[in-house]
Amino acid sequence: MLGRTANDLYWLARYVERAENMARLIEVGYRIVLLPRDGEGAHEEWRSTLASAGCAQGFFDKHETLSTRDVINYLLFDCSNPSSVKSCLAAARRNGRAQRTSLTRDMWESLNAAWIEFSAIKPESVTAGELPRILDWVRSRSALYRGAMLNTILRNDTFFFMQLGTFLERADNTSRILDVKYYVLLPHVEMVGSGIDAVQWAAILRSVSAHRSYRWVYKENYKPWRIAEYLILNQAMPRSLRSCYEQIGVTLDDLAEYYGDQHACHGTATGTRQRLAKGNIDNIFQSGLHEFIEDFISRNNRLGNEVADAYHFNG
């Protein structure tokens, strides 16, 4: 396989995953904004949504103030924002088109149809009532694509590079949400038990589609340290850092077997995977949740670069 092909497939998967995560972030932000609140504008919530999406800088370069309309437009439709849903779907399709021969017909058709349908939406005609439907649609398209992939693709390097892209992106997304919101998970005396916290905690869980499963797993009300544990260390939760790294580990093992060699990325991934497997939430809080997450983000980025080097993504 060409190095460029591997690169395109990896990023194709990342963009599909990113579009889905973005839709979820917008949905959660919008829910909170709709809640009746007093004081400093509810719009402040958008600030953390933008930060979680990694889009704050870009947004404020373009807009002086926060408005729901501007934020949603920027995150959904703005082509100057490389992480907007529209940009992600366009980039995913562009990569898919460049690697048309690596995709099955089902995968290509779902990707192509997603782009064709999404690009037909006129941003100015989207009303508040329609927003949830559009966000649902984005998530269902991503699910359709992954379903097509899992059902039809050969388990060879094509599949492995796409899996790596999906789970590195997912780990990145979950860790960024934690990075932006870690303070609401810290035990601050004055805030404990306030209604605001419960809303924030629910928002975090919702943004990784985990607000219902949390109750099944823990059988109790939201506890901030439990939420942190769930998102970081729980192996069963499909968007937790641990779960992402289990998938990354398996995939890198598959690649090593497929190609018959190992690289620096294998060591890095194994290190991160073991940390998460052996991790304990009390220790993490003790040595600093924020530091832990920052360290994770940098390790995750390093892994991405090492994968690119090992498999000649850039020639």
Binding site: R94, R97, A98, R100, T101, W108, I116, Y259, H312
Partner: protein, 464 residues
Amino acid sequence: MYGSGEGVRPPYHAVAEWLGTQALGDLRQKLADAETMFRRTGITFAVYGSEDTSERLIPFDIIPRIISAAEWRKLAAGIEQRVRALNAFMFDIYHRQEIIRAGKVPEELIVSNSAFVPEMMGVSVPLGIYSHIIGIDIVRTGESDFFVLEDNTRTPSGVSYMLENRETMMHMFPDLFARNRVAPVENYPENLLKTLESVAPTGLKGEPTIALLTPGQFNSAYYEHSFLADQMGVELVEGRDLAVIDGYLQMKTTQGPRRIDVLYRRIDDDFLDPLVFRSDSVLGVPGLFDLYRAGRVTIVNAPGGGIADDKAIYSYIPKIIKFYTGRAPILQNVPTYNCRKADDLKYVLEHLPELVVKEVHGSGGYGMLVGPTASSSEIEAFRAKLTANPSNYIAQPTLALSTSPTMVETGVAPRHLDLRPFVLVGDEVRMTAGGLTRVAMRAGSLVVNSSQGGGTKDTWVLQD
């Protein structure tokens, strides 16, 4: 479809009968279904200079074009003779140039022709073949009158439409295929692969590695490039994926460099190698041409093949066939006026409203004048261009192209068409029965190029 007399010509009987039983509304629905299929699979085509340059569908017509077995036999024999002669001509032009010495083709028409590539002199190409993939554009003007309109010896495109059109027709009208014995076309990719393998560098041990070089996904024929690579199971590469490493052409894979033996390139000569051709090209590979000269890699089609499909050379093709095969051409050329000749130019200027005038190096239906349908101001504008640079133009009489029933806005109506069979030349000449039928979608129009709004049809060669 109709002969000179009354009624439907025999090869069309079964389809005409079927067409009679179909309701127009059903046919329209089928046509819409076909378009949806094409758009989903991504068979699109970029058109240069149009407003939405990204992607457009080529109109597809669901009524097939039909050729009888006997008609095809004659065409096939003529095409094979022609492609052999064209290759012999290219070999000669890039070696001793016997045909110039013999006075059959003027020296200046070769030496000062921009389609002639002097760097190709003396290259020993495997099996002596230059143009391995050729598309011959053929028109029909009467029941047994076929003319060759153009040879495409550089990088003919359209074969993916031939294959996808058939796929779509079989999917939508299986009963039609049950009632007619239609020669298959799906062996084309396999034949292409065999052809490419047969021209691997001399002395290569083991299976040759083949790759298809594309300019990238924004090229108008990108779909075809990826389609063919996929069908053959070979890598689809871009210039940036390739490099000269350790004396061979190598592609950069996830496991490091891997050697390529045969490069089926779909980029123009000018862009192949910045060291030899356009120095600003980023689509090609520096050093590729040197490797080619040294016999380390085969480039398909060979650079410099444009000399054989140059419109100024076209009128010499009958002489060329005679010179290299010793026989008269089986397929006729369209009478052609070379405006570089004073007599021809005089005639052309006097008869512009009746003629089709084309640029010598043009293609895709750009920069041409179709006299009978042009306005008088268009004709005068063209006259000025022609007078300013006569040797840049050739002219041909307007032919009474055959028509075939086609679905249009108003129902089923006759539209003009041509035929591009695809021929593969390697250790043997391989031909797929049929080819790509292009149809002018506007009433009375003779321009079938897809860049000018032409459509395509499935092409059936009936078996005896």
